[in-house]
């Protein structure tokens, strides 16, 4: 059945002066619904695993009560102010550590991704596998391994001390005395290590897409290698830089395992507070409020960042 039917025979002939209206094509209802059916699994997934938990957490954050008496919604919004006033140092620390780790990841990851994309030749696949390989062991085990690597009397700390680097980091407040473990430096190191692959992979995909002939063209136009990099490669790899930094910064700011295992009392991040409020203190409203505050802070920072970086296509 089509909408553009021939007019019935007894109908008056169309007024010739009227402009010809293009026939409106309406697809059959079934076909029109197809996209919605295709969307359904995704929407359901979002609803059950994202929207509902968010509503539940939002509700929890404005409840008051206790485990024994139960909790009721009292619209106790003051909990947000209280949580922020009480735990703002943890927020600052989270942003600071996650930011430092992200910057370090970029510094370490960019050259490596560049190497894999342009210079690795037939080793490319192997190098990529090596980047992903650490994921085959558990996150926890990998983090615990750093306790051995950074052990007080261990060779690495010994070298850092001999070189005098520990004195510099101690001045910056990153280490204490002759040790690295249980200091901010250890936490940032752990974060950097754990999230490095999340930086390298997006960087690699965007670098790999750059046409190598562009480099030759830049050379033909008398650009020195550094100028070519600054004018051609770097701008073209910006989508990778942006998505890499986001993939690193967002999970790192909510992480609590590194601060728990490699840190000390004064290196705890917001994630540790949320965990402790949920499980140890059983103060569910404060924990939920802290989660929302963290989400809001990260969201604001990311929005500003994306606006400034101005990338339409991530990846």
């Amino acid at each position: 059945m089509t909408a553009a039917k021939a007019p019935p025979a007894d109908a008056p002939p169309p007024v010739p002066s009227a402009p010809a209206v293009p026939p409106v094509r309406t697809a059959p209802a079934r076909r029109r619904l197809t996209p919605y059916w295709l969307l359904l699994p995704g929407v359901l997934w979002l609803l059950v695993f994202f929207a509902l938990p968010m509503v539940y957490q939002a509700s929890t954050s404005v409840q008051t009560g206790s485990l024994e008496e139960g909790y009721t919604v009292t619209w106790h919004f003051a909990v947000y102010g209280d949580a922020l006033a009480e735990y703002w140092p943890h927020f600052v620390r989270s942003v600071l550590y996650a930011g430092t780790a992200t910057a370090l990841c970029l510094l370490l990851g960019y050259p490596l991704a560049y190497l894999i994309a342009f210079r690795a030749g037939r080793w490319r696949a192997l190098l990529l596998v090596l980047v992903i390989a650490p994921f085959f062991t558990s996150f926890l085990i990998r983090t615990l391994a750093w306790k051995t690597i950074l052990a007080d009397g261990g060779p690495l700390v010994e070298i850092l001390r001999t070189v005098g680097l520990l004195e510099v980091t101690a001045l910056l407040g990153m280490t204490e005395g002759d040790r690295v473990l249980a200091t901010p430096l250890a936490v940032v190191t752990g974060l950097t290590y754990n999230f490095l692959p999340f930086m390298i992979l997006p960087l690699y995909t965007s670098l790999e897409r750059i046409d190598p002939r562009l480099h030759e063209a830049a050379g033909d136009l008398y650009a020195r290698p550094f100028t070519a990099f600054r004018q051609v490669t770097l701008p073209l790899s910006m989508p990778g830089v942006v998505s890499g930094t986001l993939l690193t910064f967002i999970p790192a700011s909510g992480d609590y395992v590194n601060a728990e295992l490699l840190g000390s009392t004064d290196t705890k991040m917001v994630g540790n507070v949320i965990q402790s409020q949920f499980l140890r203190v059983l103060d569910y409203p404060t924990a939920a409020a802290l989660s929302f505050l963290l989400m809001a802070i990260v969201l604001i920072m990311v929005t500003v960042y994306i606006r400034r970086a101005g990338t339409e296509d991530l990846l």
Binding site: V55, Y56, A58, S59, T60, V62, Q63, G65, S66, L67, E68, E69, G70, Y71, T72, V73, W75, H90, L144, K147, T148, A151, D152, G153, E176, G177, R179, L181, A182, L261, G263, S264, T265, D266, T267, K268, N272, V273, Q275, S276, Q277, F278, L279, R280, V281, L282, D283, Y284
Partner: protein, 415 residues
């Protein structure tokens, strides 16, 4: 008279208005209307959903739920325990004491090592128990404060004493009557867990560490002292060191003990507060001295002779891990029989020889001596009179106290 007609907007203006309604950014299209309407509906529904939520009281009347025991029909029992908390046979796979139970009773034990941390385990089973559903577990093993909380909330099944002849007779005096479960109506201890002071003599440079005061003040240990994240062990030891009684203290005493520990944090004497992971640090010497659980020390010592322990003159805290049957368990009688099985001295001796914690079963010494005389003589496994006299228990806390204390303690440990 003509009705007053103001000059209408000019044609150009009207056209512009029409354009702005139908095209451009502020256009009122079907989509934007839907979006606005949808947003409004979402906001309304969201508010309604937010206020409809709420968490019902967790407390339930103990045993109020219909007692529906499937023990006769289902010859199994699901037992959840901590990792490495069960004896293992020569082949590294079989569990001799559980096999013995199956052989004797015909009840198959489904043994799961899924408890790693009290607070996490509580988070895991809380939703089911609060909703009055069964957890799928017939027997669980949790530390005394969590057992106390579950009993307080009515989430532990009362035990049938007639099925516990050995347990009733053999339970040692020290564990007989905790203030959180008078007469052991709901729980029986699996092990006692003394918290003592451990140190790595190589890391301390040959120095002996024997008091909490020394942990907090000795400059030779600066930055290499560990305390436990388990609030009752850490604060309990500090209370004892201050000459207070952990079984009977006031809020002011608690605050004093916390202030003492805070001093240690502030002057960087304390390196960190640890869970089970202190063992590796102590073994390597990154921690020179710490509060440690006795069973860990016994096991560490077998690999590293530098690890030593002392029992402070001021006394030490003994907590316990306890077997209890969560509310709504399907096979309560089977679970109760399993508890009683572990109170027969030969079985208890086998277990103690493997896990090296304080055995709560009386008369186990002779049986343990048959397996390993050295273990039988170890006062960390079978405390002698002098050692037992120094043991203290941390008093049970009300829900409100628990929250307030944990909150202060969380601040101390940094989160």
């Amino acid at each position: 008279m003509d009705p007053y007609e103001p000059d209408g907007p000019g044609a150009a203006l009207l056209a512009a208005a029409r354009r702005s309604l139908t095209g451009g950014r502020g256009a009122l299209t079907r989509r934007s209307l839907l979006r606005a309407g949808g947003g409004g509906a979402l906001a309304l529904a969201g508010t309604a959903a937010l206020s409809a939520c709420g968490i019902p009281p967790a407390r339930r009347e103990s045993g109020a739920a219909a007692f529906d025991d499937h023990s006769d029909r289902e010859k199994t029992v699901n037992f959840s325990n901590w990792t490495e908390y069960m004896d293992v046979g020569e082949d590294k796979k079989s569990r001799p004491t559980l096999t013995a139970f199956t052989r004797r009773t015909g009840i198959r034990v489904k043994y799961t090592e899924d408890i790693n941390d009290n607070v996490e385990f509580f988070g895991k089973i809380k939703p089911q128990l609060a909703a009055g559903q069964e957890t799928g577990r017939d027997l669980i093993c949790v530390t005394d404060w969590l057992a106390a909380r579950m009993i307080r909330l009515g989430w532990a099944q009362k035990l049938d004493a007639s099925l516990l002849p050995h347990a009733y007779t053999n339970l040692t005096e020290q564990f007989r009557d905790p203030d959180w479960d008078p007469g052991r109506a709901h729980s029986y201890p699996w092990t006692g867990i003394p918290a003592v002071i451990a140190y790595n003599i190589r890391a301390t440079g040959g120095r002996k560490v024997d008091s909490v005061s020394q942990l907090l003040d000795d400059p030779a240990l600066k930055g290499r002292v560990g305390f436990l994240t388990e609030m009752r062990d850490t604060v309990g030891m500090a209370l004892l060191d201050l000459g207070k009684n952990p079984a009977d203290f006031t809020d002011a005493d608690y605050d004093e003990a916390l202030a003492r520990l805070q001093g240690g944090v502030d002057k960087k004497q304390i390196r960190r507060f640890t869970g089970n992971d202190y063992t590796a640090d102590l073994d390597k010497g990154d921690l020179a001295a710490c509060i440690a659980w006795a069973g860990d020390v016994v096991q560490l010592q077998s690999d590293n002779p530098d690890v030593r322990f002392t029992i402070p003159a001021a006394g030490y805290i003994t907590s316990s891990d306890n077997l209890l049957i969560p509310a709504g368990a399907r096979r309560q009688r089977n679970a109760t029989r399993l508890i009683d099985h572990y109170y027969e001295p030969p079985v208890a001796a086998r277990l103690a020889a493997y896990i090296n914690y304080v055995c709560p079963v009386g008369g186990v010494g002779a049986e343990l001596a048959k397996i390993d005389p050295a273990l039988a003589a170890n006062t960390l496994i079978i405390p002698d009179r002098a050692t037992a006299a120094k043991s203290h228990a941390f008093r049970s806390l009300s829900g409100e106290e628990e929250k307030a204390y944990e909150e202060k303690f969380a601040k101390l440990i940094g989160a």
